[in-house]
Subunit: 225 residues, 2 copies
């Protein structure tokens, strides 16, 4: 435990940097400037330098950061040096999409358990993992050392899924269901809400439409004068 | 166009408030305090008051905000007074999960087009909408007035999907594929990245583990003394 805790907003940006850096490694790049990293991650270079300073990484003037070392530092900071086993609850379309998502492996995660309460789905195999009943969750969590659970159920079953995960000892939950779930204070929940992302887009889309109207109005005024 | 633009961070929080407020309307609540709204949305009440001040909403001392009016104001600000028609590109498991997502209707969106380049999927019906080939996208966008596109393809097809959306005149894109896409500057892209959400959770999970170790160490030290 360090003296200076990493701010939440920095933690939220580290995975963005990591994704860019892994692409740079693949492309054979050895160093990267804070400017280049900033453009690729969509933030200012001052923010990049400040964020990376929390990892004790300051780069070299005129050369920038060592890409491979920075990948190592961010992975260590995020706790991704060992793959985290995750459990997915709810194996409908979304659960299947997540179970088949190729990206988990090289991003520090491994799908270790799939559970559902639909008897028709039991025994179905997705990748290397077989769908099991929800009541086997405590055994699966203990066996596989699962610390992170993903809720991919419909809204109506999300609280049951959260309760089952918490009862099984899971303390970090990613919730895809379009509803809030209640958990004890020691459990962390992050919510992925598609409609919220769309609503943010709608705001900017609307602003663009307003600006187009204004510009058109101005042009019309100019051509009249 | 107002004098004081709403900050990006406020825009990102308005959908959170909206979700809470719609639940309150359903529960029959007429007013809400900034404190209650803050707790439900997971922010401070000072932030709630500041955010809502951008909408010209200040509440009444001792009574709080009028719930129904605040819903109206946020919907108007976000441009959700008319449902936005959206197009989904890529009708695999994820695209189907999104197409069947019940939440869109009452959140200001309507799935108006589903496209894929797999001939086996053509003509398949999801809800009220039939899957069409990608080359019909320009016609569908024009007919349905689509301004927002959702990419639900695998990573390898995401850039093609983005190009098709942009060529068809779509200017706002929500990208679910685990890769970055390039678009012209006038187009807005928001990225939903499951692995990034998991990486943020992993960080907090790791911190919890460290604190548990420290606490255990302290207890051991105490019991020894």
């Amino acid at each position: 435990v360090r003296d200076r805790p990493t701010p939440e907003a920095t933690v939220a940006r580290l995975p963005l940097y990591l994704r860019v850096l892994v692409d740079l490694v693949t492309a054979g790049d050895v160093t990267v400037s804070s400017d280049a990293l900033a453009v690729a991650a969509g933030v200012t270079s001052a923010k990049v330098r400040k964020d990376l300073s929390y990892l004790g990484s300051y780069g070299t003037r005129g050369k920038g950061y060592d890409v491979a070392y920075l990948v190592h530092q961010i992975r260590r900071e995020l706790g991704l040096t060992q793959p985290w086993p995750i459990a997915i609850v709810g194996i409908g379309n979304l659960g299947q999409a997540l179970a088949n998502f190729r990206g988990f492996g090289d991003r520090g995660f491994r799908v270790a358990a799939l559970v559902d309460n639909d008897p028709a789905k039991m025994g179905e195999r997705l990748g290397d993992v077989v769908v099991r009943p929800v009541d086997e969750l405590p055994a699966l969590v203990a066996e596989q050392g699962i610390a992170i659970g993903v809720i991919a159920t419909p809204a109506g079953s999300a609280q049951d899924a959260a309760d089952a995960l918490v009862a099984a000892g899971v303390r970090s939950i990613l919730n895809f269901a379009p509803t809030l779930v209640s958990v004890p204070p020691a459990v962390t929940v992050r919510k992925v809400d598609v409609a919220i992302e769309l609503q943010i887009l709608a705001y900017y889309e609307q602003r663009k439409a307003v600006f187009r109207e204004v510009r058109r109005g101005r042009r019309a005024a100019t051509s009249r004068s």
